[in-house]
Amino acid sequence: MKLLEYEAKQLFAKEGIRVPKGILAGKHEEILLHMDEITGNVVVKAQVDVGGRGKAGGILMADRDTVIETARQLFSTTIKGVPVQRVLIEERLDIQHEYYVSITIDRAKKQPVILFAEAGGMDIEETAQKKEDAIRSINFSPLLPDVPGFLLRELCGNAPAEIQKTVNQLYHVFCKKDALLAEINPLVTTPDGVYAADAKLIIDDNSLVRQGIAVNRDLTEREREAEKFGFSFVQLDGTIGVIGNGAGLTMATLDLIEYYGGKAADFLDVGGGADSERVMHAVHLVAGVPSVKVIVVNLLGGITRCDEVARGIIAAGVSVPVIVRIAGTNAEEGRRLLSEKGYEMLDTMDHVVRKAVEVTG
C-alpha cells in the first residue's frame, strides 16, 4: 500500500531523517490556526497519490500572504483526476543541491538494492535512460542490519557525509516498515544540512497487519469486499464473468477469452483452498457485475477441492448461466454434484471459453 508524502515523512523523521517543518491541512480554514508558524516562503503540496504531481500542478509556491488562497486553489482542483483532500504546507528550503536515493528489492539477486544519483529532482527516469552512468547502485545481504560503510562510500561518491548517514537511516525505514520501496527525491543539501524534500513509501501488502494498518487504501470498496473473502478481484467492462483459482490460471482464462474474441467482465481469483462458502460468495460477486451475461468457472483443484467448488456454485444458485470446467482434486465428485443439478460442464479450458464467447455473441 502506498503512503502519502506526509505519512512517509512522519516515519522518516522517526528514524532521524530531517524533513522540512510542515503543516497538514484538510481545509484552507485550518491554516488560519497555524499562521504564526508561517513566517517566510512556503511550498503548498497536494497530498495525492499521483506520479508527476509537480508537473500536474500539485505543488505551488506561496508566502504568508498568499498561502490561504493557494491552498484554496488546490482544494478546488483535481490532480490527474484525483481530488485534493489534504495539503502539506512546508517551509521553502534554501536548496544547494538535489540528489536522488531509492531503496527497493532486486528480484533477481534477492537482495535490497539502493539507487543513488548526483542529479536528483524531476525526470529521474529520463536521466536514467539517457545517461546510464548517472545512477549508481549497490546491493548487499538482507541479513545485514546496516548498509556497509564501503558500499555507502561507493554509492554516494563525492556527496557530503551526512548524505551517507541519511541513506542508512532510509534503509532502516525500509526494513522496519516492510517497504517494497523507500524513496527520497529530491534529497537536498541546504546551509542547515540535509533534508528529505519529498518522500515515497510503499508497504508490502503481506505485512499490513503487522504494520498496524487495518485498511488497504489502494483497493476500491468492491476489491476490499472481495479481499475479505480472500479473493483478488478486478472489475472489467466485458460480458463474460470469470472465476478461477490461482492468479496464473485466471489470467490465462482472460487471455483465452481475448484470443477467441470475447471480453471479460472481471478477474476473480478465489485463492487457494476455497471452500463452498467462499465459492458461493465469488459467484454472487461476479453475478452482481452489471455487464455479466455468462459466468465461466475454470478451476483446477490442488489445495482447492472440486466437490467444495461444486457445492458453492449450487448454493449460489444465480440466474446468470454458469459454465463450468473443473479438474484435479475430487473433480469426479464435483462433476457428479453439478450434473445432478443440470449445470453445463465442459472438459477443457478452450471449450468453456469458446462456449462462453459463442453465448455472448
Partner: protein, 292 residues
C-alpha cells in the same frame, strides 16, 4: 528426476494445521502408490507426541531428525511464521525446503532464503505448489491424478496454471520427468535458471516447458542460461499494464516486464512460445521432431 526421489524422507512443518494435515495424507497416499518413503515426520511447536495419518509429530525439526531420516521439509506454516520455519529446517541440516505458504512478507522471504543458502539449503517457493516427479516423489500440493511419467520437465511460477499445462501434456500422451512450481512472489528461492541447471543434469529430461507470468524478468534470464530445448507460455497478455512501483522498479528490472515484452524476448532467442496452454503439446512435438 530432480530435487528428490523415492528414498527421500520428508518432514512437514505446520503439520497440525488444516492444510498440513490434509496434504500429509495426500503425499503419503502418493508415496504408497509409487513405493516411496513420503512424509516421515511432522513438526508443530508444542504439539509434539501427536500422530497425523500415522505420522509422528515433533516439536522441532531437530527433534524429528533425531528419530527419523529425512532430507527435505515441506512448509505449511502460515504467513508471518513461515520464514522462521524455513530457517529452522535449513539450520537443522536439511538440503531442501519447499515453502507452500502464501502471503509471506517479502522482507521475511529475503532473509530466510539468504540464511538457508548460507547453510547450503535450497528453497523452492514460497507461495508455490511444490514439485512432483511422476512415479517417484511428490513434495507439496500438486494433484497427482493429472500427471504421467515421461521426459518433459515443467517449471512454473503459477500453481493451477501448471496443473492446466500438465493436464494438456498428459492428454496429448506427453509424460513429465519433474514438474516444479517455483512460486509467484517477487522473491523466490529456486529461479528458472536454478531449476534449468538441475534439468540440464537430469538424464530423464529431454525438453522443458517454462510457464511465466507478468512481472519480473526471470523467464528470459533462465532461458539465456541453458542449452536444454525449451517451450514457453506467458500468462497475462490481456492484463492491463501493471502499476509500476515508482521509478526504481522500472530502473532495476531494466526494461518492461509485461507479458508481450517477455514473449518478444523469448521469441528473439528462438524459443517457441504458445499463445494458449493447449498449443504446448504441439510445440513440444515439433521440438522433438527437429531434435531427432
Amino acid at each position: 528426476m530432480i530435487y528428490g526421489d523415492r528414498k527421500t524422507g520428508i518432514i512437514v512443518t505446520g503439520a497440525t494445521g488444516r492444510q498440513g494435515e490434509y496434504h500429509i495424507g495426500l503425499m503419503n497416499e502418493y508415496a504408497r502408490q509409487v513405493g516411496g518413503r513420503g512424509v516421515v515426520a511432522g513438526v508443530t511447536p508444542k504439539k509434539g507426541g501427536q500422530t497425523i495419518h500415522g505420522v509422528s509429530v515433533y516439536n522441532t525439526v531437530k527433534e524429528a531428525l533425531a528419530e527419523q531420516d529425512a532430507a527435505a521439509a515441506v512448509v505449511f506454516v502460515p504467513g508471518g511464521a513461515a520464514a522462521d520455519s524455513i530457517m529452522e529446517a535449513a539450520d537443522a541440516g536439511l538440503e531442501l525446503v519447499v515453502a507452500i505458504t502464501e502471503h509471506v512478507p517479502v522482507h521475511d522471504t529475503m532473509k530466510a532464503i539468504a540464511y538457508a543458502e548460507m547453510q547450503g539449503c535450497a528453497v523452492i517457493g514460497p507461495n508455490c505448489p511444490g514439485f512432483l516427479s511422476p512415479g517417484a516423489v511428490k513434495m507439496g500440493i500438486m494433484p497427482a491424478g493429472l500427471f504421467s511419467q515421461g521426459h518433459v520437465g515443467v517449471i512454473s511460477r503459477s500453481g493451477t496454471l501448471t496443473y492446466e499445462v500438465v493436464d494438456e501434456l498428459t492428454r496429448a500422451g506427453i509424460g513429465q520427468s519433474t514438474v516444479v512450481g517455483i512460486g509467484g512472489d517477487p522473491v523466490i528461492g529456486q529461479t528458472f535458471a536454478d531449476v534449468l541447471e538441475q534439468f540440464a543434469e537430469d538424464p530423464e529430461t529431454k525438453a522443458v516447458v517454462l510457464i511465466g507470468e507478468v512481472g519480473g524478468n526471470l523467464e528470459a534470464e533462465g532461458a539465456k542460461s541453458t542449452d536444454v530445448p525449451l517451450v514457453a507460455y506467458i500468462a497475462g497478455v490481456s492484463a492491463p499494464p501493471d502499476k509500476r512501483m515508482g521509478h526504481a522498479g522500472a530502473i532495476v528490472e531494466g526494461g518492461e516486464s509485461d507479458a508481450r515484452s517477455k514473449i518478444a524476448k523469448l521469441k528473439k532467442m528462438d524459443i517457441p512460445v504458445a499463445a494458449r496452454p493447449s498449443e504446448i503439446p504441439d510445440l513440444i512435438r515439433d521440438l522433438f521432431r527437429c531434435h531427432c
